[in-house]
């Protein structure tokens, strides 16, 4: 497995906390509850291995704060 592939597996979703406004859209819409909120309501990746890379979070983040790595399983 290449380094990138390993990284993608460990960290399928990246949240840019500087841009995240904590609106809750991503963690409310994520079908597999990969995402949850921190004490500021901002998005954090709590269950990376459950990610199906469906991109619902990325597509609906109004602040371009989420990037999903790799392609749909």
């Amino acid at each position: 497995m290449s380094m990138n592939a390993v990284k993608e597996q460990l960290e399928p979703v990246v949240v840019n906390l500087a841009w995240c406004k904590g609106c809750g859209i991503c963690y409310s819409l994520c079908p597999t509850k990969v995402l949850s909120s921190n004490e500021l309501g901002k998005s954090i990746v709590s269950e990376p291995n459950k990610c199906t890379r469906c991109k619902i979070c990325e597509n609906h983040c109004p602040d371009y704060a989420i990037t999903v790595m790799g392609v749909k399983k």
Binding site: C23, L29, H60, P62, Y64
Partner: protein, 271 residues
């Protein structure tokens, strides 16, 4: 998204001014993806807007951008397009900007079938001024200026623009993002007046006043009340009650304004 971000956004200006959970950002993403799919040259593309929350979008986009006065974006854009028809001209407007103060320019742009792609962000309210009702607010909706519920009937803006003579009319929403991208893309491809109503959300004013829950709840509602034209065709009248139909609602091949004008110029110059 990352690749598009770097290419199409003025990333140094992000994060944008929109409230947490405002769907405007989602619609702008679809716009950018449609532009990418259409392969428009950024140097030859002008994005024009009026005034409102949604009309702030061009400031974040790495194109020639023109933020005009309230309601007048289509009129400015008409000047841009007719003066230099080589430019791709896109108009970003809100439901207040585009259908109230700018309603006259909207129907006349459609009537001329001038080659503009107009993307109207419909959040059913005046966001920027703090939540007053708009000509697209549903009957009964609460707003700061309709504290007892809105008694005015909203426009079916797609019908109005179709009747006014536009060659391409579509409706999408901020939940079904790939559909929306595709609808905008087709609008960009059409040589003529293309109109796309994008149902957006204003969680801060429309959402709170009408007790619609959190931003994610408002998106989930769109998922429920929006049905595609194709699905609607298979449904009974009862099933369709309360639903909003999305997809390409109208398409007609019609002569385009700047091309017609060029014919006159050519004729006069041959004389």
């Amino acid at each position: 998204m990352l690749a598009h971000l770097e290419k199409y956004f003025r990333t140094e200006r992000l994060p944008h001014i929109w409230c947490p959970g405002c769907a405007n950002g989602i619609i702008v993403k679809s716009l950018v993806e449609a532009i990418d799919k259409a392969g428009l040259d950024q140097d030859k593309t002008v994005i024009v807007s009026g005034i409102g929350c949604s009309s702030r979008a061009p400031g974040y986009l790495n194109f020639n951008t023109l933020h005009t006065t309230h309601g007048r974006a289509i009129a400015f854009a008409t000047g841009v397009k007719l003066a230099n028809p080589e430019l791709n001209v896109i108009v970003v407007t809100g439901d207040g900007d585009g259908t109230s103060i700018g309603g006259n320019h909207l129907i006349h742009g459609a009537r001329r079938n001038i080659d503009l792609t107009v993307l109207l962000f419909n959040n059913s309210i005046y966001g920027m001024t703090g939540g007053q009702y708009s000509p697209m607010s549903p009957q009964g909706a609460k707003a700061t200026t309709s504290p007892y519920g809105n008694i005015e009937r909203p426009f079916d803006i797609c019908n109005l623009v179709t009747a006014s003579g536009a060659s391409y009319v579509a409706r999408g929403n901020s939940y079904h993002t790939s559909q929306l991208t595709n609808l905008i893309y087709q609008g960009l491809q059409n040589k003529g007046f293309s109109f796309i109503e994008a149902i957006s959300t204003c969680p801060v004013y429309f959402g709170r006043k009408n007790k619609l829950g959190r931003p994610a709840d408002m998106l989930k509602m769109q998922k429920e009340f929006c049905i595609s034209k194709e699905a609607a065709e298979k449904m009974s009248a009862e099933e369709k009650a309360g639903k909003v139909i999305t997809g390409v609602l109208h398409y007609a091949e019609l002569p385009e304004y700047t091309e017609q004008y060029q014919k006159i110029v050519d004729k006069c110059q041959r004389r």
